[in-house]
C-alpha cells in the first residue's frame, strides 16, 4: 500500500484515478504522439469492449433484472421487487456462505501465498528445483473429478491413506477429516494444495528475474538473509504479488466447482455448511429436488459482482503506484 494513504485521504470514488503529482506532470508533457494516440483510444479498446459487453455485460444487466423477479429459468416471471435480496440476507445459510467465502478468499489466500513464498525461497537454488517446479504445477492440470475421487481415498476415516499413516506413526485416534465439523477445513487445505503450485511457479519465475548483483551488493554491505529478503526480494516481487492477489481474490470469490465436486455426488448439492456465495447462487438454481429459483440465484450473483467491483477499484489503487524497476 502506498505510504500515508488512508481511506479518508482517498478521493471520492467518482474519480477512480486519483490525480497525483506524476499524473499532472504527464499531462503537461503531452506530446503530439500522445495526442495521436488518444484519438486511437477507441479503435484500440472498443473491439474488445464490444465483445466483452455482448458476452458478459449485457447478460449481466439481464441478471440484475432477473434478481428482481421470481423465475424458474423459463416461462413467466413474477415481479418480486427487492424481496429476493431481503430474503437472502435473512437466510442463515447466506450468512454461513459469507463466512465461508471470507475463509476461502482470505484464509486460503494467505495460506497459498505464504506457502508459495516459502517454497520459492526454499527451492530457489536447490538441486532438482526444475523437477520440483514442474511437479508442484501438476495438480492444476488434473481434472477436478480425479482429485475428488482421490480425496475420498486419502481422507476416509479410518482407513484412508492419511489416517492409515497416522496410525502407523502411533496416533491412536486419527482425525475424521471428512466429518461434518471438519469437512470445510479439509476442503480449505485441499484448495491450498491445488493452487499453491501455480503461484509457486509464478513467484519462482519472478525471483529468477531479479538480478543476482543486487544480492551480492546487499551481502557485501553485510545484510543478513532476513535483511536481504526485506530489502531486495520483497520489494521487487511486490508488483507480482499484488497482481496475483487481485486475481486470487476475484477467482476465489466465484469458485464453487471445487466445493461441488469435492463434497457431493453428481447432480446433488453439498451440505449448506460448505457453501460460499458462488455455491449459494448455484444451489438456488440447481437444487436437484426443487423448482429452480433464478431470482435468488441472480441476486447472489449480483452480490458477488458488487464485491468484485470493490476489489477491482481497490486493485487499481494498489497497482497504480509507481512500479519498481530494475
Amino acid at each position: 500500500m502506498k505510504k500515508g494513504v488512508s481511506v479518508t485521504t482517498m478521493p471520492a470514488v467518482a474519480s477512480p484515478v486519483p490525480e497525483t503529482a506524476s499524473r499532472r506532470r504527464q499531462r503537461l508533457r503531452m506530446s503530439p504522439l500522445e495526442r495521436s494516440r488518444r484519438r486511437l483510444f477507441v479503435p484500440f479498446v472498443y473491439p474488445a469492449l464490444l465483445v466483452y459487453a455482448a458476452v458478459m455485460v449485457a447478460p449481466t444487466v439481464f441478471t440484475l433484472w432477473i434478481s428482481l423477479n421470481h423465475w424458474a429459468g423459463a416461462g413467466p416471471m413474477q415481479w418480486a421487487g427487492l424481496s429476493n435480496y431481503t430474503r437472502m440476507f435473512k437466510d442463515p445459510v447466506f450468512r454461513t456462505s459469507f463466512v465461508n467465502t471470507f475463509w476461502i478468499v482470505f484464509g486460503v489466500g494467505v495460506g497459498v501465498f505464504a506457502i508459495a513464498f516459502l517454497l520459492t525461497m526454499l527451492l530457489h537454488d536447490m538441486v532438482g528445483r526444475k523437477l520440483a517446479r514442474a511437479v508442484v504445477f501438476f495438480p492444476s492440470l488434473v481434472p477436478g473429478i480425479a482429485i475428488s475421487i482421490l480425496w475420498g481415498f486419502l481422507f476416509n476415516y479410518p482407513d484412508g491413506l492419511v489416517d492409515t499413516l497416522l496410525v502407523k506413526l502411533g496416533v491412536d485416534h486419527p482425525p475424521a477429516w471428512l466429518a461434518q465439523d471438519n469437512a470445510f477445513k479439509t476442503i480449505l487445505v485441499g484448495m491450498m494444495w491445488l493452487t499453491t503450485g501455480t503461484y509457486t511457479v509464478i513467484f519462482m519465475a519472478a525471483v529468477d528475474r531479479i538480478p543476482r548483483e543486487l544480492y551480492e551488493a546487499a551481502e557485501l554491505e553485510g545484510a543478513g538473509p532476513f535483511a536481504r529478503f526485506r530489502h531486495v526480494t520483497f520489494p521487487l516481487m511486490r508488483d507480482i504479488v499484488s497482481v496475483c492477489s487481485v486475481l486470487w481474490c476475484v477467482g476465489a470469490l466465484k469458485t464453487f466447482e471445487f466445493l461441488l465436486t469435492f463434497s457431493a455426488q453428481d447432480g446433488a448439492l453439498p451440505s449448506p455448511k460448505l457453501w460460499n456465495f458462488a455455491m449459494y447462487s448455484y444451489g438456488e438454481a440447481f437444487n436437484p429436488d426443487g423448482v429452480p429459483d433464478y431470482g435468488i440465484s441472480s441476486a447472489c450473483g449480483v452480490i458477488v459482482l458488487v464485491l468484485t467491483g470493490g476489489l477491482a477499484v481497490l486493485s487499481r489503487r494498489i497497482l497504480r503506484k509507481d512500479s519498481v524497476t530494475y
Binding site: 416461462g75 475420498g152 461434518q180 471438519n182 447432480g267 446433488a268 429459483d293
Partner: protein, 451 residues
C-alpha cells in the same frame, strides 16, 4: 410421495448417469433442420428425443431398440440425442429460445415434474393416458396405473396438483429398500422381517458377533435421511414430514410425540453402534463398497444398488432386498418410488408423433426389457422385476407406494434445515430430544427468513 421422491430421484439420477457422450453422427432433423414445416406436426414423419441415457448404457441400448422398432412400424424417423444426466439442465435455457430443440425429453421424473414443468414448457399429456397401448385393449392409464400417473403430475408450493400429468413413465426405482447378501442370511430370503423389532433382533444378533451391521454412505444426505423418514412415515403417515415442515411456527415438530419417537429410533441406531465404522466421515461410495464385500450386513438404499456395486462385490454375492420394515404395531412405510419416463414439450414440432411413441414404449415386451436390460422396476403391473428386487416389485404392484407429493418449494427447506439436523442425528452428534428441539427452532427461523 414426498421426500421419498426426492431421494429416489437423486439416486435415479446417479443411475442415469452413464457412459460417454452422444455421438456426433446423429443427423440433424426436427430440432434444427426442419424449420420450414408450417403447422405443428401436420403429418410430420420425424421425431426428436433428448435422453438422459448416454451411449453404451443399458438404458440407451433399450431406448434405441424401441426407437428402431417404432421407426420400422410407423415410418416416423426418430432421432435421439444422448444427453446424459444433464439433459434437463441443458434443455432449460432452450425453453427461452425461438424454438425448442426436441419433441420429447426422456429423464427422471423429478427433472420433468420439478425442474421443467414449473417453466410451463411441458405439454399436459392427459390425453396420452387415454390412448391405447398398441396391441392391447388397455389405455395407457390402465397400463401404468393411477399412482404412477399421479406421480407424473407436477405439484405446487402447497403440494396440490398443478395441472395434468406431464410425464409418461416407463420405469421406476425405489429408495427405502433394505439390501443384504442372501448367501449369508438364507433365513431372511425365505422370511423377511415383518416389522422393525424383528429386524432389530437380527441386527442385535450380528452386533453380538462383534459386527457393525448397517452400512451407510453418510456423505449422501438423502441416504442418511432414509431412516428417519421411513420411521416417521410408518408411525405418523407419509404426510407427517411435510406437515411439520410447513408449520411456520415450527411447533408441530415438538407437539406430536411421533416426531420424537422416530428420532429416538434413529438415535438408538446411531448411538448404539449399529452403523459401520467411518460412516459419518467418508466419501461415497466407500461404505457401500465395504458392504458389498461383507464388511457390513445391511444397506438401506435404492433398487439401483446391485448395478452400482456389482463389479466390486465379493464373489458369489447374492443381492437380496426387502422393503423398509414397519415400526412394530404400525403400517409399513409405503415404498418411496420415483417414476421416470417421457415428457413432451409444449412447443414440440411433432407432438402427435411424440404421443404415439409414448404409448408405443409401454408395450409389454419393452417392459420386460426394462427388467432384463435396465435392471430396474417396470411400471406395468405383473411384469416381473430382476430377481434381487422382485420383493420390492411385489409391493409396487400391490400399490403400497408413497403417492404423497411433497410441496416443491420445500426442497430448499430440506437442504437448509432438515438434512443438516438429520445428519447430526444419524451421526450421533445430537440426541432425539435435541433433534426435535432444533427442528422446532430452526423451522421457525427458516420461515421467518422467507418473509
Amino acid at each position: 410421495m414426498a421426500l421419498g421422491e426426492s431421494m429416489t430421484r437423486l439416486a435415479a439420477r446417479r443411475l442415469l448417469a452413464a457412459v460417454s457422450v452422444g455421438a456426433l453422427a446423429v443427423t440433424l432433423t426436427a430440432a434444427c433442420g426442419g424449420g420450414g414445416d408450417a403447422g405443428p406436426s401436420g403429418g410430420a414423419k420425424q421425431l426428436t428425443i433428448w435422453s438422459s441415457w448416454l451411449k453404451g448404457q443399458p438404458g440407451q441400448k433399450f431406448l434405441q431398440g424401441v426407437a428402431d422398432d417404432f421407426e420400422a412400424k410407423t415410418g416416423i424417423k426418430v432421432t435421439i440425442e444422448w444427453k446424459g444426466n444433464a439433459a434437463a439442465k441443458a434443455l432449460l435455457p432452450a425453453l427461452n429460445g425461438t424454438e425448442v430443440p426436441t419433441d420429447i425429453i426422456e429423464s427422471t421424473g423429478g427433472a420433468i415434474t420439478n425442474a421443467l414443468a414449473p417453466t410451463g414448457g411441458l405439454l399436459d399429456i392427459g390425453d396420452v393416458y387415454q390412448m391405447k397401448v398398441p396391441g392391447t385393449d388397455q389405455t395407457v392409464q390402465q397400463a401404468v396405473g393411477d399412482q404412477a400417473m399421479s406421480l407424473s403430475t407436477p405439484v405446487d408450493g402447497t403440494g396440490a396438483k398443478a395441472g395434468g400429468p406431464v410425464q409418461i413413465p416407463y420405469w421406476a426405482s425405489s429408495s427405502n429398500v433394505v439390501f443384504y447378501n442372501g448367501k449369508r442370511f438364507p433365513d431372511l430370503v425365505a422370511a423377511p422381517p415383518q416389522d422393525w423389532d424383528q429386524f432389530m433382533a437380527v441386527l442385535d444378533a450380528q452386533k453380538a458377533k462383534g459386527r457393525k451391521p448397517l452400512a451407510l454412505d453418510g456423505s449422501i444426505q438423502s441416504y442418511s435421511a432414509l431412516y428417519y423418514t421411513s420411521f416417521l412415515s410408518s408411525i405418523m403417515g407419509v404426510d407427517a414430514l411435510a406437515k411439520a415442515s410447513l408449520d411456520k411456527s415450527g411447533r408441530t415438530w415438538g407437539a406430536d410425540p411421533g416426531y420424537l419417537q422416530a428420532a429416538q429410533m434413529v438415535e438408538k441406531l446411531a448411538r448404539g453402534g449399529y452403523f459401520i465404522e467411518g460412516y459419518s466421515a467418508s466419501k461415497f461410495p466407500a461404505m457401500e463398497n465395504k458392504w458389498a464385500n461383507d464388511e457390513a450386513d445391511f444397506n438401506v438404499n435404492g433398487t439401483w444398488l446391485p448395478g452400482e456395486v456389482g463389479s466390486v462385490a465379493a464373489p458369489g454375492f447374492d443381492f437380496r432386498a426387502f422393503p423398509f420394515p414397519a415400526v412394530k404395531g404400525k403400517k409399513a412405510p409405503p415404498l418411496s418410488v420415483a417414476v421416470n419416463g417421457l415428457g413432451i414439450l409444449k412447443r414440440a414440432k411433432n407432438p402427435d408423433a411424440a404421443k404415439q411413441f409414448a404409448a408405443f414404449l409401454l408395450q409389454r415386451k419393452y417392459q420386460e426389457q426394462v427388467s432384463s436390460q435396465l435392471q430396474d422396476i417396470p411400471v406395468i403391473k405383473g411384469v416381473p422385476a430382476p430377481a434381487p428386487i422382485q420383493a420390492v416389485k411385489d409391493v409396487f404392484d400391490r400399490g403400497d407406494i408413497n403417492t404423497f407429493r411433497f410441496p416443491t418449494g420445500l426442497a430448499d427447506y430440506l437442504t437448509k434445515v432438515f438434512y443438516e439436523l438429520d445428519d447430526q442425528l444419524v451421526f450421533g452428534k445430537i440426541s432425539a430430544k435435541e433433534f426435535v428441539d432444533k427442528m422446532v427452532s430452526q423451522t421457525a427461523a427458516y420461515w421467518q427468513s422467507k418473509n
